[in-house]
Symmetry: C2
Subunit: 374 residues, 2 copies
């Protein structure tokens, strides 16, 4: 159970969409939603210091239980004071359950209703993950918000496999809730069911009675068409309690954030801003900018003339291109920083649009500006 | 010639050594000497933002003419506003002449008194570097302090070769002085001569009458024993005018900075703090710390309990070790930042020791604390 350290207050719901502006209070501060969490897989958002994250407007970060359990180990994180002290990030943190990575990254050795047996993708050493160990590990890591262990099948499995994953996820959610001991962590249930509205409803009907303090939507952004994802959100979000945060896991592109918010999603995470940053691709108010292109060689302009982030205030496209061509670390660092700031500003703009009952108008304006490059 | 934008004022000379505290005014601000310049080879101190450099106490940085001339090209740097604007570093900058890298890094095709013909180490494309082009390039880059083209022979060449390099360096220095057009850059002569006191004197006698606003000592830290380097400093420094800055190029270890300052050196540069940082090695008040070692796994202490840098205030040895084992960029970033801050504090401490007439006492204390690990 989550203690009164958590509170979710919807301030305003957009009159033109399902979008909403809310305040989510956690033990490490208040998150203004809708919010985007940069991904700090191994307890570090790649290339950025906590100070830089805060300066970019980040409120909350995500860390991956699977990676941390393998290295340095949950016990080491606990001994070093938990994730907040380890990373020196004093804001809210969310950890996933490790399930997604176990099913996508590790070499599975056996999966049954009891647990998942797998081998580490790092060195092949054997591990077991059950609902109970997923909770125990996340309690050692000490994030503010933790996730139930779920089974996230790959895109395109049979309806029978999808339904089995839904039912196993519901069963595991009950065991996770039962296993939870700490009262200062919000444990979210995860709705599965792919793009099948019947299975989404089956999943939600199993989880909502468990009264989780928030609900994640898993199994999207895994290869289906964006339109199918948006339709799945339209069927899933209304099944979830309106007075609790809704978190769309692992999504996505800027346009996905807009479409998600307008369908009532409050929280997002994705590696795109940092991964694209490392690959010399910048998000801007006019679309994507590929910094390795020769056209930027002598360009004194900032990445985005409408951006007030530290990178756009200080550096030219020509310099950033040079850094990438010279394989200098500062290139990935600065582009990651800009991209994270871009995502944060987009979320702040979306929040303002919801408060002003201009959600659909905001979407139309953004779509026209980004053209087809996002 | 250097304009009155430059001024070098010796505030105090240590009663116990040749060490001195001075203020060096440049067009981009005052440098408190003795000072250490982190190396920003390709117009970036690897992994660190200008804000982080400033926070670490850095006053002045160095950039490499050879690398910048090859990529992105001096014309591109000029078109993007010169080095200061390019890097967004508003403090003083020094560029070397490119000579050292041409002789050590490039594939030489022909060297004569007129110029050096070589091929880029990047793609084999042909370049020529003469005293005149070295100045022209450095004027395009726009640093506050620039260097004459010199010939820096490798350690261990014959006395005849060493003397030829001295004489060619003197000849080139005259041409560099002649070629200089900008009046807002301090052009330094470079004394060569290896560890041979006769050749050092020959070099200084050729250069001092040219009345450069400062003098660099080249050809040290290239493989000779530290004691031989210190002896060479003892013979060379007194040959240089006391009212101008003395710059020991490319040196070195913390102990070398102490020994250099006590022999009257004002300026240093070296890749050690950043290179060691990238290799998981930290400089601390008690010696070197190798972060990959298993003993640091669960250590909650900062790198250096006497250090007040942003890294030591925020992160544990255990976390930093984890970052390196996980190949996370933040490891090299944070260790580079700490090491640069360590070097800056060492220089500030040396400066204070000189002002207090405690130079030799400071050396004794440091040697005892660092033991043999530096």
């Amino acid at each position: 159970m989550a203690s009164s350290a958590f509170r979710f207050e919807v301030e305003h719901t957009d009159a033109t969409s399902q979008g909403r502006a809310a305040l989510w209070t956690t033990p490490h501060g208040v998150v203004q939603t809708p919010a985007f969490m940069p991904v700090g897989t191994a307890a570090t958002v790649k290339g950025l210091t906590p100070d830089q994250l805060a300066a970019a407007g980040v409120q909350m970060v995500l860390a991956n239980t699977y990676h941390l359990a393998l290295r340095p180990g949950a016990d080491v994180v606990a001994e070093l004071g938990g994730l907040h002290r380890l990373m020196h990030w004093n804001g809210p943190i969310l950890t996933d359950s490790g399930g997604f990575q176990v099913f996508s990254l590790a070499k599975l050795t056996r999966v049954d209703d009891e647990q998942v047996l797998f081998r580490s993708h790092l060195d092949g050493s054997p591990f077991a993950l059950s609902p109970e160990t997923a909770i125990r590990i996340q309690e050692s890591l000490g994030a503010d918000c933790i996730m139930c262990l779920d089974e996230c099948p790959p895109h395109g499995v049979s309806p029978e496999q999808l339904q089995a994953a839904v039912d196993r996820t519901t069963c595991w959610a009950m065991r996770c809730k039962e296993a939870q001991q700490r009262t200062d962590q919000a444990l979210f249930g995860i709705v599965q069911g792919g793009t099948d509205p019947v299975l989404r409803e089956r999943s939600a009907r199993g989880l909502v009675p468990l009264l989780f303090p928030g609900y994640a939507i898993g199994g999207l952004g895994v290869g289906e068409e964006p339109s199918a994802m948006y339709t799945a959100l339209e069927t899933t979000v209304p099944l979830l309690p309106a007075d609790r945060p809704r978190y769309l896991m692992g999504v996505g592109r800027p346009i996905d954030l807009v479409e998600g918010v307008l369908r009532g999603v409050d929280l997002f995470d994705c590696v795109m801003p940092t991964r694209n940053g490392r690959n010399a691709t910048a998000f801007t108010s006019r679309g994507l900018l590929r910094l390795r292109n020769a056209c930027h060689q002598r360009d004194p302009r900032p990445l985005d003339e409408e951006c007030d982030c530290p990178v756009c205030r200080q550096f030219s496209r020509g310099y950033l291109r040079h850094l990438f061509l010279a394989n200098e670390m500062l290139g990935p660092i600065l582009l990651s920083l800009h991209n994270v700031a871009f995502y944060q500003r987009l979320m702040a703009d979306l929040r303002a649009a919801c408060r002003a009952d201009r959600g659909t108008e905001f979407r139309a304006i953004q779509l026209a500006r980004w053209e087809t490059s996002f």
